[in-house]
Amino acid sequence: MLVNLDPHDARPLYLQIMDEVRRALVVGTLRPEDPLPSVRELSSELVVNPRTVSQAYRELEREGVVYVRRGQGTFVAPGAHPDDQERRALARGVAKRALLEARRNGVGVEELVTIIREVATEEEGEPSGSASAANQGDTE
């Protein structure tokens, strides 16, 4: 599971980690019953305070996305529906951020929707699209 943290992202680190887990679920890198990296491993890899990782995992557990197996670590919940719940939550996150950006740049909601379709159509014509689509199958 590759996790990238962006220092310029306005969200607290633990939220970024949570979103990355959800993203992995949507994309299919993580499936139900898959183990998550241990708090130790992930905090070492990301050079993040282990308490932040713990917090992310706890919140995910509270939401039912993951569960803890005593002495074995954290695993993706068997009931997690990556395609429905997570995809929706992820898409809502993207939408919220887009709307915030739009507001800052003086772009109205309807204008935004129209232009998104415009840009998407343009990019389909290009050989290697930019990573602006929410549904990128490539994880590298």
């Binding site: 943290l5 220092p7 310029h8 992202d9 306005a10 607290p12 680190l13 241990s38 708090v39 130790r40 905090s43 070492s44 890899e45 990301l46 050079v47 993040v48 305070n49 282990p50 308490r51 932040t52 800052r104 740049n105």
Partner: protein
């Protein structure tokens, strides 16, 4: 910029707490009325230009320097009256390494220091020595700056102290070693509940590890808050203003205005984004863009222009 920007001390225990700490060296003021609060289990980064008093703060906590006024406590223990007990809870990496053990080999020094800390874990010390690439048969006097730093890191971590006081822990290390050091530190934190107080110039390194920051300037603590709060409340606004615009007085700035194109300028302001944006809009300005700042930029905003770059 002398107004103090503090968040309230978090309810619950503070691993480190100083009250009105003052320290002067001759005519120079190293610390002036410093109220530092490091919550239990936090990774607190102390930032500031050279001579701001960062090293002095750590030395006062270790009772290597006695404060001229004010008190300091570590886990509730007064640092002056119960110095040895405080130091038994601390792993300290000093800024400068100079001691009279030049003829000792690293291995011998490790065994020497181990005798002073009943909580020392020899197996962990071995693991750390290997992880840090420490050659145990080298004499301490023959170590390079980076190797000496790594040696001190092993000495500090091996007894799993509840508090780590790190003064420039990655100074002198090459980029690979720096990364490895921080990753090892994260692992260490995962294994043992530890409070960390780091003083460093390499602010960007602590970007993801830090969860609290404090900014020292000329001996005063000008800002102290959790990392998330800093991220949320210190942002850079790109503002477009009409002729003769005057900034509303309630705005708390964290740095000077930076001129941009035409009537636009950039300004780092403190406060919840919604409030700040409202105030600006009410005063007649237009907020074009709001950027979240990385740790370094946010912290540097509290420091004057001349020393921030």
């Amino acid at each position: 910029m002398s107004r103090l920007i503090h968040s309230d001390p978090e309810a619950g225990a503070c691993a480190v707490a100083t009250h009105g700490l003052c320290k002067r060296y001759g005519g120079e003021t190293a610390l002036e009325g410093v109220d530092l609060w490091v919550p239990d289990g936090a990774v607190y980064v102390l930032i500031g230009p050279n001579g701001a008093g960062k090293s002095t703060t750590l030395k006062v906590l270790m009772n290597l320097e006695r404060p001229d006024a004010g008190t300091a406590e570590v886990f509730g223990l007064d640092t002056v009256r119960r110095g040895p007990e405080v130091r038994a809870q601390v792993g300290y990496v000093p800024e400068h390494h100079d001691h009279g053990y030049r003829w000792m080999t690293c291995g011998r020094l490790l065994r020497h220091v181990a005798a002073y800390y009943p909580a020392w874990d020899p197996a962990y010390a071995d693991h750390l020595s290997r992880a840090f690439d420490l050659r145990l048969d080298r004499r301490v006097g023959a170590l390079s700056k980076g190797e000496a730093r790594r040696l001190h890191l092993v000495l500090a971590l091996a007894h799993r102290p509840p508090l780590l006081l790190l003064d420039e822990p990655t100074d002198g290390l090459d980029p690979v070693a720096r990364n490895r050091t921080l990753a090892l530190l994260a692992e260490h934190l995962a294994d043992s509940p530890t409070t960390v107080l780091v003083s460093t110039h390499q602010i960007y390194e602590m970007e993801s590890l830090a969860d609290h920051i404090g900014v020292l300037r000329e001996g005063r603590l000008v800002a102290q808050m959790p990392r998330d709060e800093l991220k949320r409340t210190v942002r850079r606004y790109r503002i477009e203003v009409p002729e003769g615009w005057e900034a509303p007085p309630e705005l708390r700035s964290a740095g000077p205005r930076r001129p941009g194109a035409g009537r636009e300028f950039q300004w780092t302001l403190v406060g919840e984004e919604r409030e700040v944006t409202d105030r600006l809009t009410l005063s007649g300005a237009r907020v074009r863009e709001v950027t979240t700042l990385g740790l370094e930029d946010a912290a540097l905003a509290f420091l004057p222009e001349e020393v921030s770059r």
